[in-house]
């Protein structure tokens, strides 16, 4: 089945991102296709490469990056939600006159249209939130 996953909460405070990650991993292991993972609301914070969790804890951003890169996943961070919360890639940072960017490897920033497109193109959309 062709699936898309929506992550509406940030890392660590809520379990949503962990659950979405475990779900995505399990779906891939079962042979399903993941069309897109879309990060919205505080979920955009999953895509910041500047998080530094304690060493004996899971690294949520790194988990997503690794799963994304080894399965060629389309990990999309919503641009409007990301700008509100300070998640920027190089071109967004430049455009808004900021001195740094923080988007993690394997993630890309794009518009909300990518969420609707995922709904149209996928057999199922699974939303992980609070």
């Amino acid at each position: 089945m062709k699936l898309s996953v929506v992550v509406n909460e940030g890392p660590y405070t809520h379990q949503a991102s962990d659950s979405a990650f475990q779900f995505t991993k399990a779906a891939l292991e079962k042979g399903h296709e993941i069309y897109r993972v879309f990060f919205y609301h505080d979920g955009v914070n999953n895509g910041s490469r500047l998080t530094v969790p304690p060493q004996d804890e899971r690294n949520i951003q790194q988990n997503w990056t690794e799963l994304g890169q080894s399965n060629e996943l389309d990990l999309v961070v919503c641009v409007a939600a990301a700008q509100r919360r300070g998640v920027l890639d190089e071109s967004e940072a430049k455009r808004h006159g900021k001195d740094a960017d923080n988007i993690a490897p394997g993630f890309r920033i794009s518009g909300l249209g990518q969420l609707i497109d995922a709904g149209i193109a996928s057999d199922r959309v699974i939303v992980f939130g609070d």
């Binding site: 794009s110 909300l112 990518q114």
Partner: protein, 145 residues
């Protein structure tokens, strides 16, 4: 890259999309950011509806005044949804009653029915919990934020 017009990679597919609003308009950003999805999503010409239940019914209460909390009152945007061809706003009857609200407390939201000589009709439809369950079951995509 990011600011370009949303691209619909499947122009022939029309699905039933439902946005479920469960949260109060202020206190968290969910309601505002959900409305942003609805407005962007309108460009994709899908069969769109909104559901308001739990505290989500407060989003469309009329007479909202946010001047004292330093936030933008975005409730007038709901009245513009008809212009985006979003004309089905299902409001759960029990959620209204549980909060002491009546249909008269809600914004007047209308759309122009192109199949009926552009007659102006109310977009809000009060449905009970059982009815809403059936409407939800008939959807292709349910986005709940």
């Amino acid at each position: 890259m990011s600011m370009e017009e949303p691209e619909n990679t499947h122009p022939d597919v029309i699905k039933k999309f439902m946005y479920v609003n469960r949260r109060a308009p202020y206190g968290t950003v969910y309601a505002l950011e959900t409305l942003e999805v609805v407005l962007i999503g309108a460009a994709f010409d899908q069969d769109v509806s909104l559901a308001f239940l739990d505290d989500g019914v407060f989003q469309i209460v009329k007479g909202q005044d946010t001047t004292q909390i330093g936030m933008k009152n975005f409730s007038p945007t709901f009245r513009a949804l008809g212009d985006y061809e979003v004309s089905k706003l299902y409001v759960e009857k029990e959620s209204l009653e549980e909060r002491g609200l009546a249909p008269d407390d809600l914004l007047e939201i209308t759309y122009e029915d192109e199949d009926d000589d552009w007659a102006e009709k109310p977009s809000i439809r009060i449905v009970d919990r059982t009815e809403l369950t059936k409407i939800m079951a008939a959807q292709d995509v349910i986005l709940s934020f």
